[in-house]
Each structure stands twice: as structure tokens, then as C-alpha cells.
């Protein structure tokens, strides 16, 4: 037991460094992916044919292809097209695409939950379409989508573990490297799991609480 604890204490700094990278890559991907999701949601609803088609393609590929394949496409494939990305940039590219594609559906459902009467009322008051979106539809729609978006954020932290495949030194990669050096896979992978759980479990519980609170107000 003492042996295990001292091993954990010795490797904790490396894992915490990895966790920082995981959180950074997730944070940047979400910061790009959420606005992208909103744009895609509006694009899919748009009446302009070309915009509609492009948005649909981006969403369907982002949702249909495994995140791991998109990651490898960005890191190993794009250099062939003359675009060489660092592993961090490739990870952000792939995870932001993934986030945009999935959250566009969440946000679209939120936007569609705004009662049609409010949109009719806005146009009756002579509001422009852009203003209706900005002041009526988006604020209410995002409020409905908020719990699902936060739930998705915890999933994205888990998905960032896939960056192992493109040699980004995040939590899973660092744990794996320590495992290969010491051959104590079980111990080190368990510690990595505890670190993921330490963030995701409270976050999941918080999302549940938020869901209940918001549900109370809207109903």
C-alpha cells in the first residue's frame, strides 16, 4: 500500500501536467466549437441552398466519422495538402469540428423550442429577422440547450484522451508513457482514471442539478 502511494505521489506531477494539457485542448476546442455549433444550427435552418448544403455536410461528417479518424486526418492527412499542424492545433481542429457538429443539433433543438408565437409577435412588431434572432430566439434557445451543452463539455474532456493517438502529451498519453517505463500499468492508469472521474463526476452531478432547476422555471 505504501509502495503504491509513493508511486502515485512520484507520478502525480506528470499526470497533473497531462491533465492541464487535456483541459487546455478541451477548453480551446469548446471555445471554438460552441459558436461554430450555433452558426451550423443557423446554417442548417437557413433557406439559402448553398449555405444549407455546406452546413449539412460539415455536421454529418463531424457526427458520422469517429473523432479518432478526424484527429488522424488533421494530424497525418492535412500535411499532404500543405497544412502542417502541431499536435495541439490538430487536436483543436478535430475536437472543435466534432463539438460544432454535435452541439449544432443540441442548439437547433433549443432554438426550435422557442414558441412560434414569439417569432410571429416579433415580426408583428416590425422587428428585423436578425434582431428577432439576437434578442428573442437565441437567448431563450441557448437557455434550453445549456444543460445538454454542459453535459457535452464533460464528454469532450473524455474525448480529448483520443489525442493519445497523435502524441499530444495529455493525461492518457502521460499515464501510458509512465506505464511503459515502469511496467506498472494498472496502478498508473487507475490514477489517471481517478483524475478524470474527479472532474467528470462532479460535473455530471452539477449538470443534473442545473437541468432540474432550469426545468422548474420553464414549466
Amino acid at each position: 500500500m505504501n509502495d503504491l502511494l509513493s508511486f502515485w505521489l512520484d507520478s502525480l506531477p506528470a499526470l497533473l501536467d497531462g491533465l492541464t494539457v487535456s483541459l487546455e485542448v478541451t477548453g480551446v476546442a469548446l471555445a471554438i466549437g460552441f459558436p461554430l455549433g450555433l452558426l451550423l444550427a443557423l446554417g442548417v435552418q437557413s433557406k439559402a441552398r448553398s449555405l444549407n448544403l455546406i452546413s449539412l455536410c460539415v455536421v454529418e461528417i463531424g457526427r458520422g466519422a469517429p473523432a479518432l479518424v478526424v484527429l488522424q486526418f488533421a494530424y497525418f492527412g492535412l500535411p499532404q495538402a500543405g497544412l502542417t499542424l502541431s499536435s495541439f492545433a490538430a487536436a483543436v481542429f478535430a475536437l472543435a469540428w466534432n463539438t460544432g457538429a454535435y452541439t449544432s443539433e443540441i442548439i437547433r433543438a433549443g432554438l426550435e423550442s422557442v414558441p412560434i408565437g414569439e417569432i410571429e409577435a416579433s415580426s408583428a412588431m416590425g422587428m428585423m429577422r436578425v434582431d428577432t434572432l439576437r434578442f428573442v430566439i437565441i437567448p431563450q434557445g441557448l437557455r434550453v440547450a445549456a444543460p445538454a451543452l454542459l453535459g457535452f463539455a464533460t464528454q469532450m474532456l473524455q474525448a480529448s484522451s483520443l489525442c493519445f493517438a497523435i502524441a499530444l502529451p495529455e493525461l492518457t498519453s502521460n499515464a501510458y508513457v509512465i506505464g511503459t517505463n515502469t511496467f506498472r500499468y494498472m496502478e498508473i492508469l487507475s490514477l489517471a482514471g481517478i483524475l478524470y472521474a474527479a472532474i467528470c463526476v462532479p460535473a455530471t452531478i452539477a449538470v443534473g442539478v442545473l437541468e432540474q432547476r432550469l426545468g422548474k422555471h420553464t414549466r
Binding site: 454529418e60 461528417i61 458520422g64 466519422a65 469517429p66 473523432a67 479518432l68 479518424v69 478526424v70 488522424q72 486526418f73 497525418f76 492527412g77 492535412l78 500535411p79 499532404q80 495538402a81 464533460t154 473524455q158 474525448a159 480529448s160 484522451s161 483520443l162 493519445f164 493517438a165 492518457t172 499515464a175 501510458y176 506505464g179 511496467f183 506498472r184 500499468y185 494498472m186 492508469l189 487507475s190 489517471a192 482514471g193 478524470y196 472521474a197 467528470c200 463526476v201 455530471t204
Partner: protein, 214 residues
């Protein structure tokens, strides 16, 4: 893009399907007792099921697969890469399926249980003949979309050396330096597999919806 590339990536399809199917069957089966424990009257069983579900849903699938393949494999239990990934993904699927079953159970009208009791049906018959068919029908859409998600998660099998679509794509991309078309082909295969599965589930859902009134 050459035919070689296309065929090379395609040889991984059976492994992708095998990993997905095996993990789904394992998860769908284990999900039932887990769901029963989650709803049990015994507090201890409820807590165990809840901890299991939270734990398996809060730690990344890749890490679980590593725990089983590298962790268990390093001296505890000899395990192949295929077994490792099926065990990892299957146990995660069990946690998610238990929640899907629980959601489906709450959609089954309480009158169904009351009527079974009023008819003095034995409890195995209540579950097997009355509840199970409805449970299957109600949970089908969510199970199907979970299976499609699992198909994509199965790509992590490639990280421990199962020769699935992703593994072959990776191998060919690195040996030919043609990453762009190769990974595009791999993505295309995943999308092409998930489309008929989704369509099949929709068709089955409509057929069952017509047969089992709810």
C-alpha cells in the same frame, strides 16, 4: 487515390463490425441485471449499480480499454487486444444500456403491471411476456443510436492493435504518405456503415410501433 488503398482500408471492416457487435451484445445483456439492481429495493444493490454507472460513464473509453488491455494484461490475466477492447467497451455499454432500459421502463404504463397482477400472472411471466416486449420496443431508438455511437468508439481498438478500419488507415497512411485520401476513405466507411444501421432501426421502430400499441 488508388484501388489498393480502398481495399486495404476495407479489410478492416469485419474487425470494426466484430468489435462493435460483441461489445454491444455484452453491454445489452449486462445492462439488464444492472438496471434491475439500479431499481432494486435493496439499498446496497442500488448504490453498487449507481457507482458502476457513474464510474464507467465518467472515465474515457480509451482509458478503460487501456486498463483492461495493458493493466489486466500486465501480469494479472492474459488478454488479447480484441478481448480487451470488447471488455472495455462492453462494460461501458452496460452502464449506458442500463440507463436506456431505465428510461424505457418509466415509459411503460403502470397499468401494465397492475393488470398482470390482477390476472395473477407469475412474476417471470409478467417480465418475460408483458414487460420485455414493450421494453424492447420502447428502448429500440435509443439503443440503435447508441450502437451507431459505439461503432465510432470502436475505432479506439486500433490504438491497441486490432486491425480494424482505423488501424489499416493508419498503417497505409504511414507507409504511403497519402494520409489525406486514406483517412477520408476511413471516415467514409464509418459513415456508410452507420447509415444503413440507422435506417434499419427506424424501419424496425415503425414496424414495432404498429404492432405493439403503446
Amino acid at each position: 487515390m488508388t484501388a489498393d488503398m480502398f481495399l486495404g482500408v476495407a479489410t478492416g471492416i469485419p474487425w470494426t463490425l466484430a468489435v462493435t457487435a460483441a461489445a454491444f451484445v455484452l453491454g445489452a445483456a449486462l445492462g439488464l441485471p444492472l438496471c434491475a439492481m439500479r431499481l432494486s429495493n435493496v439499498a446496497l444493490l442500488r448504490v453498487i449499480a449507481l457507482v458502476y454507472i457513474i464510474l464507467f460513464r465518467s472515465v474515457p473509453p480509451l482509458l478503460w480499454v487501456f486498463v483492461f488491455f495493458f493493466g489486466l494484461g500486465s501480469g494479472y490475466l492474459p488478454i488479447s487486444a480484441f478481448e480487451g477492447v470488447v471488455l472495455g467497451l462492453g462494460l461501458i455499454t452496460a452502464a449506458n444500456m442500463a440507463e436506456i432500459y431505465r428510461g424505457a421502463l418509466s415509459a411503460i404504463h403502470a397499468g401494465q403491471w397492475e393488470a398482470s397482477e390482477a390476472l395473477a400472472l407469475p412474476s417471470y411471466s409478467t417480465y418475460l411476456d408483458i414487460i420485455a416486449p414493450q421494453l424492447l420496443r420502447v428502448s429500440l431508438p435509443s439503443s440503435a443510436s447508441y450502437a451507431v455511437g459505439l461503432l465510432k468508439d470502436s475505432a479506439i481498438a486500433s490504438t491497441i492493435g486490432v486491425t480494424d478500419i482505423s488501424f489499416n488507415a493508419n498503417y497505409i497512411a504511414k507507409s504511403t504518405y497519402q494520409g489525406l485520401p486514406v483517412f477520408a476513405i476511413a471516415a467514409l466507411f464509418y459513415i456508410m456503415i452507420s447509415l444503413p444501421v440507422a435506417a434499419l432501426a427506424r424501419a424496425a421502430d415503425q414496424k414495432l410501433r404498429a404492432r405493439v400499441a403503446l
